[in-house]
Amino acid sequence: MSCNCAVLTSEENIAKNKDVYENAFRVDARPQAIEPFDKEWGVAISGNTPEPSPFPRINRILSVTKKTTNGFVAPDRAELVTRAYREHPGESRIVKCAYGIKYTLEESPLYIYDDELIVGGLGCDKKGAPVHPEFGLNWVVDEMRDGLMDYSEKRTHDYFSYTKDTQERMEALREFWNGHTVEDLTNSLAGEEALKGSHAGKGVFFADAYIFCGAGHLGLDYERLLSLGFGGIRAQIEREMSTLDLSRPEDMEKRTFYRAALIANEGSINHCRRYAALAREKALSCADKARAAELERIAENCEWIAENPPRTFWEAIQLVHLANCMILIECNGHSISYGCFDRYMLPFYERDLASGEATREQCQELIENFFIKIWDLNKLRNHVLIKTFGNGGIGGPALTVGGLLPDGSDCTNDLTYMVIDAHAHVRVPCPWLAVRLHANTPWELKVKTANCIRMGTGEPKIFNDDVTIPSMMSSGVSLSDARNYQVVGCVEPDVSGKTYGWHDAGHMNMAKVLELAINDGRCLHCGESCPRWSVCGKLGKRLGIRTGSLADMTSFEQVKEAYDRQMEYWCTQMVTLLNAVDKAHQALRPLPFLSTVMDGCVEKGVDVTMGGTRYNFTGPQGIGIGTVGDGLSTIKQLVFDEKKVTGAELLQAVEDNWVGHEPLYLLVNSKNVHHYGNDDDYADELTKFGMDTYCKHIERRPNAHGGFFQPGCYSVTVNVAHGVNQWASVEGRTAFEPVSDCMGAVHTHCCAHDVNGPSAICRSVTKLDHARATNGTLLNWKFSPSTMVGEVGRDNFIALLDEYVHRKGMHSQFTVASQETLIKAQEHPEDYRDLLVRVAGYSAYFVELNRQLQDDIIGRTELSFS
């Protein structure tokens, strides 16, 4: 009777063929990453998960990866570059620079670590930071001497250790560089008027980011590099060089550029070969056969890519990593970014999968290894910059996925998902991920993105194609280039390999401009405590131009006009200083290696710093948008509409830092005054005016490298530093509190000014004209974890993203952490080493941030919906 066939129940049948059934119900079974698109990693668990990767190798590497941005000073580069300059005294500057990078690539120490599949670094051990004396060496030597570089009470984060030997070697170079740095030349070019409001003066604006380091903020031309290889690039340089007519003066300059490019190119080829040799040497002495085979393969990869275009995913990712390291060795600019990774890597991925060269799992493992490699890189910053830039590391290595292709279709592919999975599997704050959304982004990608955000590491940020692309086109970027944009660093849209955008060039404190506008050009709290007192206030001078006092103004229109005029003046000063820095870069620090991997420089024979590539911008940001909006709103409502206080009384209250004016302090901080961020047109329209005025005075001004200025509207963390430089303000700040962050609403020590929840914020913020801020905008959201839980939390969050995209908001970043957790982490940092949070533009380990910035993040309005 019995039959041997096992008869399965339908449930058993379904269980057995789970994959088949699940996929059968999907219209399109793609994407095929190793994780399902709707994989959940939890809500607000951040980095607090041991062994997050499915790959044992990755977890092993993570176990020896330091979760810190602290590092050490690596002296070799500074010496090698100095030697290059000394050995070629008669050469023009660009050739000296080329020998500098060549020597460094050929002689600095190399390392290959256990388990890794991708090699490359900055010519020093992990977490080491090379020194770039071209931008200034005095500060390095001084900080070492004064105890401001390594850990001390004065420097509690982003500190760098150094040996006595390193200190002596740097001191020995000091004399050579003294008076020959970008800083020296900038100061002589700019003049006193431009400096008085800068970092070197009162700090109305900062334009010093590129005085002490390279401009960075770009991505190389990945298609060019991956299709030509270093050998192909060399051939192209030689070809161009052969057509020159040296009797023509411009060709003579080109020849110098090409000579420099060839020297740098040779260095890059030899650098790859050195890694090949090192890997081979390690393979020979490696007892573990499997590892020896891996090392042998690494050697083959490096040997091949030294000159040839890569053939496989592994070779391609190796080349991408090494080329970016070389850019960083040449110039320590911030935010050297990784372009649209899921575009330029896709052909290699598809080819490998089709040929059987690699599996999806192997590619996933490589991406994860690659991410950790980026995190191992480091950069030296001075003790002042670490305060404006809250948490360092290499800084700004953005990597973009998703978005529209040049033909207008959606780009999403397996790699898009694999990149997001890779972040969830490594949970280090590198690279800085950006996901591009638009009206036709697939649901599955939105779910993947939302699930990653819900984890609470702050990654990824989301960018909106539907406003970014038209915005870039308004700056003259072609449609197909604009559709290929990457996000650079914290915020900025950029065409990788075609843009020298100076994207984060400066930061204007709009709130300080409003202060000067209503106080007749004089700082509030003007007095002996100001370092400029003896050259300014004491002599009866004032910092800004005279635009009248609020005490005397008889209509709100006069306030707006004063703000407009004061803003024009300060924008002019900032533009002047930035152009001086730009000129100094061109004169002293051309970038021959970078020029070889950018589009257009070799064709034109012009260095990238001098406008060699296609798009050339300078992008300084307006900061304190909310502070200005609420300030104008307060003045309009209380002084002119309701006449509750006089202009004189309001000015006196802020002059007195609100002491003795407490009821007024409460009033301006209360719901009884119109505030930005509440979907209230009264305040939102004034905020728009404040921002538009900044944009108006920046946009389209010519810059020094052949392009023009474009405004951005975000602060990253500079709002904290600007606040430290500013006395109280009319919207309810007390002295030295941060001004408002990015596009966000005001939150003062008294209270948050946005009280109507996320939909109101979304609507208020998108009443501003994001497209006009062609250098980028940013809104930081902070959600309480309970609101993100479950399907309801996920799908309504996606709806919020959709609406933000629909309403043409450009960019958003998310913190998902409870107030309670953040406060606990402040109290017991040792228990929260892995707590990654979104700062602004980037994620960082919370316990490594300075206290003010921690407080600023805790103070952001926590959005919870019941």
């Binding site: 929840g757 996320p758 309801v792 939390g793 709806a799 019941s866």
Partner: protein
């Protein structure tokens, strides 16, 4: 029903919360109506209990009488003012100051949020205008407006007008109610209601009365009537361990849903008790009735809820823990 001088209906609303996601489908704007006829000791909205407008006092948001004193100066009773201050000049919660004339001048004069009014008056058009600000979010998610409280149906005439106006404006309506009201009041509002959320706090009327001050007969009868009328309904039990988390109670509720309602509910939600709203009791000068209640550890509580949901599911009821699962 309250009316303004133009004869327009007025609702007494304590709070308008935009972007709520747990009380009805999608993203919603939620209105909290003032006045309730149950007295649940775990209530997290004590300011909605009394139907009268009240003063809420937040001493922490006050800077003290010495520096400000505008509230005291505004009181028409002068020296007889019922406003009381502590030694540091901070106001004491009003409580039941018999002398207060409820003119709210003190709250209106307060420059900050030290004294606020619980219960603002709104006309229907004012509310519709506010609600419509998030229309695009509703359209994207199937959201709309939710009337909550307190007990929204105690202001049933106003609620009916508001729901009708929202519907006419293309905004769907959800009412969360204990349904402890005359059936005709319920039906009047239900006519313009798209979704109904109601509680079964206990199936045993004696226990229900002990918990809330009122028996459950009318509530259960109204739930049945609403169901018969075809209301799209979610039923909730706020599970308070030690009070109503007995398995037999949840089974009785599931049995009721199955047999009396023909299982026509979208979800049967078991909601965990959370200690919330205690600071609002303080603003009223009232004690939190559940002050001494010691809830179980979250893990233990969650396990209990999961167990109860599984028991309810045996009746074929779509029982879920929490409100994090989408309705549709």
């Amino acid at each position: 029903m309250l009316k303004n001088t133009e004869g327009e209906a007025l609702g007494v609303i304590t709070n308008i919360q935009r972007y709520t996601i747990h009380d009805g489908p999608g993203i919603r704007t939620e209105l909290f109506f003032k006045g309730c006829n149950l007295r649940c000791p775990w209530c997290s909205n004590p300011e909605t209990v009394s139907p009268a407008r009240e003063l809420g006092v937040y001493p922490k948001k006050c800077i003290g009488k010495q520096k400000c004193g505008l509230c005291a100066g505004a009181c028409p009773l002068g020296g007889e003012s019922p406003l009381r201050f502590d030694g540091e000049g901070l106001p004491l919660p009003a409580g039941t100051a018999a002398a207060c004339r409820d003119c709210f001048r003190c709250a209106n004069e307060c420059p900050g949020e030290g004294i606020k009014i619980w219960g603002e008056l709104y006309t229907v058009p004012e509310l519709v205008r506010l609600i419509a600000q998030d229309r695009s979010f509703y359209q994207r998610t199937g959201g709309g407006v939710t009337l909550n409280g307190g007990e929204a149906l105690l202001q049933w005439e106003f609620a009916r007008q508001l729901c009708r106006a929202c519907r006419e404006d293309g905004i769907n309506t959800c009412v969360e109610s204990a349904l402890n009201v005359p059936v005709e009041h319920m039906l009047a509002v239900l006519e313009y209601t798209d979704y109904l959320i109601c509680d079964i706090k206990h199936m045993d009327t004696a226990r229900h009365k002990a918990l809330t001050g009122s028996g459950n007969e009318r509530i259960l009868e109204n739930i049945k009537t609403a169901s018969e009328q075809g209301a799209a309904m979610v039923i909730r039990t706020p599970v308070v361990c030690g009070y109503n988390d007995g398995e037999e109670n949840i089974r009785a509720a599931a049995d009721f849903i199955k047999n009396e309602l023909g299982n026509r509910v979208i979800q049967y939600q078991l909601l965990p008790y959370r200690r919330m709203g205690t600071e609002k009791y303080e603003t009223l000068g009232a004690a939190y009735p559940f002050e001494d209640y010691v809830p179980p550890e979250p893990e233990e509580r969650d396990a209990r809820l999961a167990y109860l949901a599984a028991a309810a599911a045996e009746y074929g009821v779509n029982a879920v823990v929490g409100s994090e699962q989408k309705w549709f």
